[in-house]
Amino acid sequence: MLGRIWERYFIYLVAAVMLGVFAILTPNILSGANIINVLTNAATVAIAAAGMTFAITGGGFDLSIGSTLAITTCVLGRLIPELGLWGSFAIALAVGTLLGAVNGIIITKFQIQTFVATLSTMIIYRGLALIYTQGHDATLYSYLDIKVFTGGDILGVPVPIVLTACVFLLAFAVYRWTPFGVQVRSIGSNITASRVSGIPVDRTLIAIFVVTSVTAVLSGTLLTSQLLTGNGRVGQGFELEAITATILGGTSLSGGRGNIWGTLVAALLLTIIANGLNLLGLPDQYQRLAKGLIFILALTADSVGRLIRERRS
């Protein structure tokens, strides 16, 4: 029991400690403006990680979301000048749904492991993004409508924060209370048993990959709004960021056990570290080092949790 709790809440502890450390080193980190800044930056990874939590809980991965993100920025970058913001956003969502469905269909109909299937589509989708823009930037400097996604606010709360909150509340509700959530967990724990007990495994898997793609489209929209540019090269390694946040948050890699709020906290933690190191004036690469070290720390914590559990039993 103690081991379980330790594993589940370890990340909250790390986040609190890191926040404390940075608060001492750089008091600026707790200023109101900076907190909003952190939350806004966290939104991009957090939203995609919410989708990834479903994929990993279902026992798979989606490596293609970085490329889906790139396609989203390209679609928005090229279409907004012609169709306006909301039309383009709708098309981006439709494209995301389609790409996710293709992933799901490949995985279920050809029976390929999710890792290799989405590895292939990761390469294909990025190629499509680059073909669509011919490798150029599609800039939106004179179409500032899209700024609403990162610059706007609803009743004084910045839009990215509202969006993240909505996505996570929805994700939690779906995960906990809907048949879909139950089916995802069931498939992640034992796919054969799920199939035998009449769960529509294929349909659920396809739905999971649609979910990861759609969250990647939302993240891509936030990114486009920040950069005001669509480019086929953005988001390389983004899939690993989202997987990092999900796993650090306590979602089990072997499937069946997810932790939606843990994912959110881990995404915030990663952003706090990036932001803190930034305020300390250290180059970006130190964030990678910190990320890796936190990972090792979390792994060790996991071993400790396991040890406690084994000792008890």
């Binding site: 490949i106 109909k109 050809f110 029976q111 390929i112 492991q113 890792f115 290799v116 299937a117 590895l119 292939s120 589509t121 990761m122 390469i123 294909i124 989708y125 990025r126 190629g127 499509l128 680059l130 073909i131 011919q134 490798g135 086929g232 390389q236 390694g237 690993l240 997987i243 990092t244 796993i247 890699l253 072997s254 180059p283 690469q285 130190y286 964030q287 990678r288 080092l289 990320k291 890796g292 070290l293 990972f295 090792i296 792994l299 060790t300 996991d302 071993s303 396991r306």
Partner: protein, 334 residues
């Protein structure tokens, strides 16, 4: 030539084996290219393909062992960057052969580190090597402050760019390592233990294989082979930097999996990894020769991968259909 019966059977079996799929794919691909493009009738094209195949292939040999035991290593791209920097930085002082030995040992040391995280601390390989994926490249950046390191003496750059008796030097390394790797996998207790672990951890544990030690050795192998690959690539580029070869781990894993090594472990062959590396290099070269748009090239590579991965699934699907039809026919006839 008249063969006796067992020899003929063996030859037939050799051709029929599913494992030869990638070899036939390569030969057919070469034949089609040679028929449609005169440059593919020139030996120099093939030599350049063999050279290019070595840079991914050498690391893929180590990865084959690792994937056979059911693990895999996401950190090879970052490790490659760190080892390449180490190679270029030290080769001027140590000389060539000690430098190569040193970078191989350094790679093995990185591999031991990965191996400890996975086998001793019992963490999933995916997470542990993902952590190291961040760390190695960050260390590479911090020691170089992001600047490239260079070393341009011909005795070093010839390792990647030169040829011996017409054969590209990196390919010589590649072939020797493939032969050694195949021997180790097929003919030694070590190799058989690796295959056994991939098939069933429990069964091999019961029969006395020391699992933790074996898995650790696999990661050490990946590290050592990545060291050799880092030497070849940094020599080819005359330099190394902390941003080089992002995504290399996926190239390596793709070559291994295209060679038929199963990601779930227990099945695989170094020779097929070798052939698959050459296949990828051929595909890249052919697309350049046919002026395929460089962005389109990615799409093609992805589709080839998907096709290769789905072969097992498609085969199962067809077999199932045939079986169903036969059963239905049998029912109808009674």
């Amino acid at each position: 030539m008249k063969l006796n019966v067992p020899a003929r059977a063996a030859l037939l079996a050799w051709f029929n084996a599913r494992e030869r799929g990638i070899l036939f794919a390569l030969l057919i691909f070469w034949a089609v290219c040679a028929a449609t493009n005169p440059m593919f009738r020139d030996i120099s094209t093939y030599l350049s393909i063999l050279r290019e195949s070595s840079f991914v292939g050498v690391a893929a040999i180590g990865m084959t062992f690792c994937i056979i035991t059911g693990d895999f290593d996401l950190s090879v791209g970052s490790m490659l960057s760190l080892l390449g920097i180490a190679m270029v930085a030290m080769v001027g002082r140590t000389g060539l052969v000690p430098g190569i030995l040193a970078v191989t040992l350094l790679g093995a040391a990185c591999g031991v580190f990965n191996g400890v995280l996975v086998s001793r601390l019992r963490n999933p390989a995916f997470i542990a090597t993902l952590a190291m994926y961040y760390i190695y490249r960050a260390v590479a950046y911090i020691v170089t402050t992001g600047k490239p390191v260079e070393f341009q003496e011909p005795w070093f750059t010839d390792m990647g760019n030169g040829s011996v008796a017409g054969i590209p030097t990196p390919f010589l390394f590649f072939v020797v390592l493939v032969v050694v790797g195949t021997y180790v996998l097929r003919r030694t207790p070590f190799g058989r233990a690796a295959l056994a672990i991939g098939n069933s951890v429990r069964a091999s544990q019961i029969s006395g294989v020391r699992i933790a030690r074996m898995r650790m050795l696999m990661f050490t192998l990946v590290g050592a082979f990545t060291g050799v690959a880092a030497m070849l690539i940094s020599s080819r580029m005359w330099s190394a930097n902390s941003g080089m070869k992002v995504g290399y781990e996926f190239d390596v894993i793709a070559a291994v999996v295209l060679g038929g090594t199963s990601l779930s472990g227990g099945k695989g062959s170094v020779v097929n990894t070798f052939v698959a590396s050459i296949f990828f290099a051929s595909l890249n070269t052919a697309m350049n020769m046919f002026h395929v748009d460089s962005y389109m090239q990615r799409v093609v590579i992805g589709i080839v991968l998907l096709f290769a991965f789905s072969l097992t699934g498609i085969r199962g699907f067809v077999a199932e259909r045939v079986r169903l039809r036969r059963e239905r026919a049998a029912v109808a006839s009674t």
